[in-house]
Symmetry: C2
Subunit: 425 residues, 2 copies
């Protein structure tokens, strides 16, 4: 069967999935958890095949760490499933209930999005998180993981799929895509796939966005800023910058540009430079600043996303200039101000147009787990629908139901009846 | 100045607009209301020029009615502004407040989308509704109305813009585009325009969707269904079908396809045919049904959006088949079941994948005013972000703020500190 046939079948069972009770969906999660535990030896064995292949092909250690699925990763996904089971049902939440007239009631009620295509990097734990989020939120999912963990993905998917069917959810509610060409097939399934969530490199996400008419939720760049205000605690600023740059350098929420208020620039940059040398981070600045403090020069493209132990530094004349720099050159992901001044913090948090605006903490907190969402399918820098880390809330939409008693618009348009508008919640 | 320059300037003042107080935004609405009243003669005069031009060019009466801006239309937009002033501030609503740790609090807070481009048909009242919705929701707006009311649009826009500036909102927060080529310019302003809302014909909305990488909110088709269940009150069904087809035939929420359960098909179609002949509606059906009841044949493309006094009729074997027909051939806009049976209604409303699912009332109720939203910028058949009639709720997004005390991720990742997760609301 082609991907197109698969998603046509999925679209048909999507309303069944949407109408399934929370008991069945939680039961599926429980069965997934048990089955992952019971079949861990098989999973680890398949993962060993993937790891051996990866090692043989010379993949570097940092990436190998992500491919690995061991007791630690298993235990952490099981914890995630437990957390997910404990969360309230995201479906069927009533956010508006209004009597339009005595015999006609309007209700806005949350429901799943439908069929979601998720393309993610070679991280077996991501497969478990994404598929369990989709089960809990009543969505059908077509999953395409990185090929480096193809064997682990297949083992995990088969276990999850079997548990889902055993719990009583539709067979066609979940599907694993295995070949790269299936991504392009999926991108052409407009009308059947309701949403595509790509995870991976900027270039990859851009490719997806440019090659489909299906809505895409994702983020294209992660150029995060830390602005060190004139009222900053310098020690705190240095500690936070180190964490935001080095705790996981390749993450989209790591800091790339450090903005410094001119009144503290001299003291701060001197200390920052020393501290960054200790921590093997290379600082870049415009020609004037680089020459003055002996820093590296900015790359040709300016204030870029490095994803490496590099960061840009810039001196700003004012808080206002810092905000303008962030809104103009940033990627609307996550930006932090370090300041002891409440009014400056308030201005920054109001005026910075990003999914996450922080005060006195590291940009690395932008993450579904850390926010307490149980898991995330990704981080969105789009402003519509879902912004920031996307958990269950981002996987549902709503519908309006209207229940009447033969009501017709002509009666209201021609003045024979009047709307009453009484709020019921 | 080009549209691009305009939206670059708009993007700069968008945070100022977002940070403006509800008092200033309501004051702007009040000033708009007063100024529209005080300048009505000038507006009517400009509208007369548009009407004269339209009459001279031979535009038909139905369209002329939409171009007209008279005492009645003025009074209805003034009522709309009053309703809008009375609605609570859509900005700054906190939907999540969670202590991640004793010294770190996460808040999810609603904020405007930013810069919205709205392209709408030649209806001067729409210009007032759309621009006042944007003011109330703190969004910057670039407005392009139909050219047939160019003079009225200019007069209305100038009044509204002056009131907005007098109230203290930024000069660049609102702009009128006047030439058709500016639409294409706007479509190329990715990164500056956050959302485009096109209103108009299907072909036009499709053109917009196919020619921009900016998110588009709109609806491409309005193929609405009424399903007459075996447990329907036939008189009620006929009354509702007449309203849904004829109360305003050219509307996207008018009914196009009538589905009938086979067990009542004979009785119902005979009565429907008679009733529709009385009301000058032409019924279309597949060859077999058309021949049996003497109806017209379906157009070549099948169950289409007529936007005229035509409707398709189809007999279904079951409720399930009705739902499948709607989900497969419909446009996910608004669909209604006529039934006295609660369980059939519940199944229909759960399983139909549309923005509006109705019981025993006319599809024509799918409208922001009738839902009590004060006004609407349009109706969305997209499933992401906003669905159905889009009022203030659909014009806001949210951001996450995180306030800490020097918190770094490494402390949590390496086990020195634990998240506490305490809900504060």
């Amino acid at each position: 069967m082609s991907i197109r046939d698969d998603v046509i079948n999925m679209k048909k069972v999507a309303p069944v999935m949407a109408g399934s009770s929370i008991d069945i969906r939680n039961k599926a999660l429980l069965l997934i958890k048990d089955s992952l535990k019971n079949n861990k030896d098989k999973i680890f064995e398949e993962n060993k095949r993937d790891m051996d292949n990866a090692t043989a092909s010379g993949i570097d250690d940092a990436v190998l760490g992500r491919l690995k699925f061991d007791e630690g990763k298993l235990s952490s996904v099981l914890d995630g499933i437990d957390m997910l089971i404990g969360l309230e049902d995201p479906i069927g939440k009533v956010s508006l209930k209004r009597e339009l007239d005595e015999d006609m009631t309007l209700t806005r009620i949350s429901c799943p999005i439908g069929v979601i295509g998720i393309i993610f990097e070679a991280r077996p734990d991501a497969l478990v998180q994404i598929s369990t989020l989709c089960v809990k939120s009543g969505n059908c999912a077509i999953l395409k993981g990185g090929r480096e963990t193809a064997n682990t993905n297949r083992a995990l998917f088969d276990i999850i799929h079997e548990a889902v069917v055993t719990a009583g959810l539709p067979d066609n509610s979940m599907k694993l895509a295995t070949t790269h060409s299936e991504i392009d097939e999926m991108l052409n399934c407009e009308g059947y796939v309701d949403l595509i969530i790509p995870r991976g490199s900027n270039a990859f996400v851009q490719y997806i966005m440019n090659n489909t008419r299906i809505p895409v939720m994702g983020h294209a760049d992660g150029i995060c800023h830390i602005y060190v205000d004139e009222h900053a605690d310098i020690d705190m600023a240095l500690k936070i910058i180190k964490d935001a740059k080095l705790q996981y350098t390749a993450a989209c929420n790591s800091v790339e540009t450090i903005l410094v208020h001119k009144s503290i620039a001299d003291t701060f940059i001197t200390r920052l430079k020393e501290y960054m040398i200790e921590n093997k981070v290379c600082l870049h600045a415009d020609d004037e600043l680089a020459d003055r403090y002996g820093l590296s020069h900015l790359p040709e493209k300016g204030y870029i996303e490095y994803l490496s132990p590099d960061a840009s530094v810039k001196v700003v004349e004012s808080l206002e200039e810092a905000v303008e720099h962030i809104n103009t050159h940033g990627s609307h992901h996550t930006d932090s101000i370090i300041t002891d001044c409440d009014s400056n913090a308030e201005y920054f948090m109001n005026m910075v147009d990003s999914a996450g605006v922080y005060r006195n903490c590291s940009t690395r907190f932008a993450d579904g787990f850390r926010y307490g969402f149980g898991a995330e399918v990704g981080i969105s820098t789009s402003k519509l629908h879902a912004r920031g880390p996307v958990g269950l809330d981002g996987l549902v939409t709503y519908k309006y139901t209207l229940t009447g008693n033969g009501n017709i618009v002509a009666d209201y348009a021609e003045g024979r009846r009047q709307f009453k508008y009484k709020e019921l919640i």
